[in-house]
């Protein structure tokens, strides 16, 4: 119980810091919504025949949800933890009686809560602007995908800090990793425009798998419990690898 109380204390302040930082609010909250509007405007709302004739905007809702969750978890954590490490905040915190894991837990909690919020926001904006259906029936599958995906991308974000040498390098390195994957995985461009070989290659990485899992979970034509287990398993495997690397290589202090 004490552990939960400590983690909640840290989480409360992580939330304050997150919402006061114009950079994190813009890139994590506003930019995904902006992307949904831009893609909806550029690519119009024609049905995608190869995907059972769903409207393009309906396609983009799970795509942008994927981007928003990756951004709120992996990208935010990598940038935030690197900044805290380089500023000496983690080192300073480790000099207190607080168990070290709490400093990570508070930030992970923040990432998960913002992710959940973004799922709701992107889904609602899709509904309001484009009439994309809200898949109420599939809420359990969406929640399951969100939980496994958010946890996995949090682990990857913590692991990434090990290869980010400085605060300045953090946005560049995370962008170099995520932007190509968004393009190759059908997050930015509808997948019927992407060659099969490219999609197969993207399928080796967690972003594509996470998107496939969300796409299936959002699928309005399915009844019953529809989960893309293989994709979710691939995401979880990446997350586990991230966890192992994070435990092994995470640093609390700047390199001397």
């Amino acid at each position: 119980m004490t552990s939960i109380r400590l983690a909640l204390h840290e989480f409360r302040f992580s939330q304050k810091i997150f919402w006061r930082n114009p950079g994190s609010v813009f890139f994590t909250v506003l930019l995904p919504v902006l992307f949904l509007v831009i893609f909806g405007t550029i690519f119009g709302n024609d049905p995608i025949d190869t995907l059972g004739g769903i409207p393009t905007t309906t396609y983009y809702v799970p795509a942008i949800v994927t981007l928003a969750v990756v951004s709120a978890t992996m990208v935010s954590l990598a940038v935030n933890l690197t900044t805290a490490r380089e500023a000496g905040l983690l080192k300073r915190g480790r000099g207190t009686p607080q168990p070290s894991w709490v400093f990570i837990a508070g930030r992970v909690g923040n990432a998960v809560v913002v992710s959940a919020l973004m799922v709701v926001v992107v889904t609602l904006v899709g509904k309001l602007l484009y009439g994309a259906p809200v898949p109420w029936r599939h809420a359990p599958e969406i929640a399951l995908t969100l939980v496994i995906g958010a946890a996995s991308f949090c682990c990857l974000g913590v692991a990434l800090t090990a290869i980010i040498p400085s605060r300045e390098a953090a946005p560049a390195i995370t962008n170099v990793i995520t932007l190509p994957l968004y393009f190759l995985s059908g997050v930015f461009i509808p997948e019927n425009e992407i060659p099969d070989g490219v999609l197969a290659f993207a399928g080796l990485f967690p972003v594509r798998n996470f998107f496939e899992a969300f796409f299936t979970a959002y699928g309005s034509d399915t009844t019953g419990f529809s989960v893309e287990w293989l994709s979710l398993l691939a995401v979880a495997a990446w997350g586990l690898a991230g966890l192992v690397l994070a435990v092994r290589f995470f640093r609390w202090t700047p390199k001397p």
Binding site: L6, H9, E10, F13, K16, I17, R20, N21, A87, G88, L89, K91, R92, G93, R94, G95, T96, P97, Q98, P99, T253, P256
Partner: protein, 305 residues
């Protein structure tokens, strides 16, 4: 004899081939303000970070509040407060919020408003840490170390980069900690600071303690001669007539003036002899000064050997 708050015997620490600490011995007693001084790279911060539980040592026996800092426990961390060389603050939290965040890390924190007063930030309680001046940021940093109500406080160069008035304020604050019964171990580059604050001073050079005493006695300071200097008009009676041994006379800042200096182990008698001579000869001893060696004189002597 009561247990010391900090005891170090034969401490060694190397970084690769570089021996940063080469056999440091120190004892800090409860309620002391203890200053560690020494040139950059002398091993001060390394020693401090070993005491704080951040760095592992290579050899030696170390105890801080009865615990080996290489195996820090939560209960032990409750009793120490740390201010690192670099100020680290969440810039987006206010002074009060920053202290509330850290207060949550301790089981019996000192009330936040009390800490705000203690570090003199009552006027900025709701200002964000990122908008404070350098001196105010450092004082908030000290506040974060104090909010757990520790018995022992580590301050690594607490006033580096301060303007003189901010430094005075910081000194008042640290001196106030003595009244609270805290033990303070601080490092500094300012001998005035050590002189003003410290009960005892240790000089570290090349990884070893070269002197460890009260500021008044450090490096045999109490027995060093007093340096007396004055000026007289040139062409008048020569100070050599005063009958003082070892007096040197050189040209002063301009032609009409001679500058005389001597070192005296019995300054009272020598000054009496000098002034009676001057009164009889009817000359004024301009810029008369009797100066005891400062801590800085002793420090420079100890670290330049």
């Amino acid at each position: 004899m009561p247990e010391p708050v900090i005891s170090i015997e034969g401490l060694h620490k190397s970084y690769g081939d570089v021996e940063a600490v080469r056999g440091v011995d120190l004892r800090v007693e409860a309620g002391e303000i203890f200053a560690v001084v020494g040139p950059n790279g002398a091993g001060k911060t390394t020693t401090l970070e070993i005491l704080e539980g951040y760095l592992d040592r290579d050899a030696g026996r170390v105890e801080v509040l009865g615990t080996d800092p290489a195996e820090p426990t939560r209960a032990w961390r409750e009793r120490i407060g740390i201010v690192l060389q670099e100020t680290a603050l969440e810039t987006l939290l206010s002074v009060r919020e920053s202290l509330e965040l850290y207060a949550g890390y301790y089981s019996a924190p000192r009330p936040v408003d009390e800490v705000i007063d203690l570090v003199g930030l009552a006027g900025e309680a709701n200002r964000r840490a990122g908008r404070l001046s350098g001196g105010q940021k450092r004082r908030l940093d000290v506040g974060l170390a104090l909010v757990g109500d520790p018995d022992l406080l580590f301050l690594d160069e607490p006033t580096t980069g301060f303007d003189p008035s901010a430094r005075r304020q910081a000194w008042q604050m640290v001196a106030g900690l003595r009244d609270l019964g805290k033990t303070v171990l601080l490092t500094t580059h300012y001998m005035e600071e050590a002189q003003f604050l410290a009960d005892r001073v240790a000089v570290i050079n090349h990884g070893v303690v070269v002197a460890d005493d009260t500021p008044e006695r450090l490096g045999d300071r109490g027995n060093l001669p007093t340096r007396i200097s004055f000026q007289v008009p040139s062409g008048g009676p020569s100070p050599e007539e005063a009958g003082i041994e070892g007096i040197t006379i050189e040209p002063g800042s301009h032609d009409e003036i001679l500058k005389a200096t001597f070192e005296s182990s019995s300054p009272t008698a020598d000054l009496a002899r000098l002034t009676s001579w001057a009164v009889e000869a009817g000359i004024e001893l301009e810029s008369l000064e009797a100066r005891r060696p400062t801590l800085e004189d002793v420090y420079l002597d100890l670290t330049n050997r």
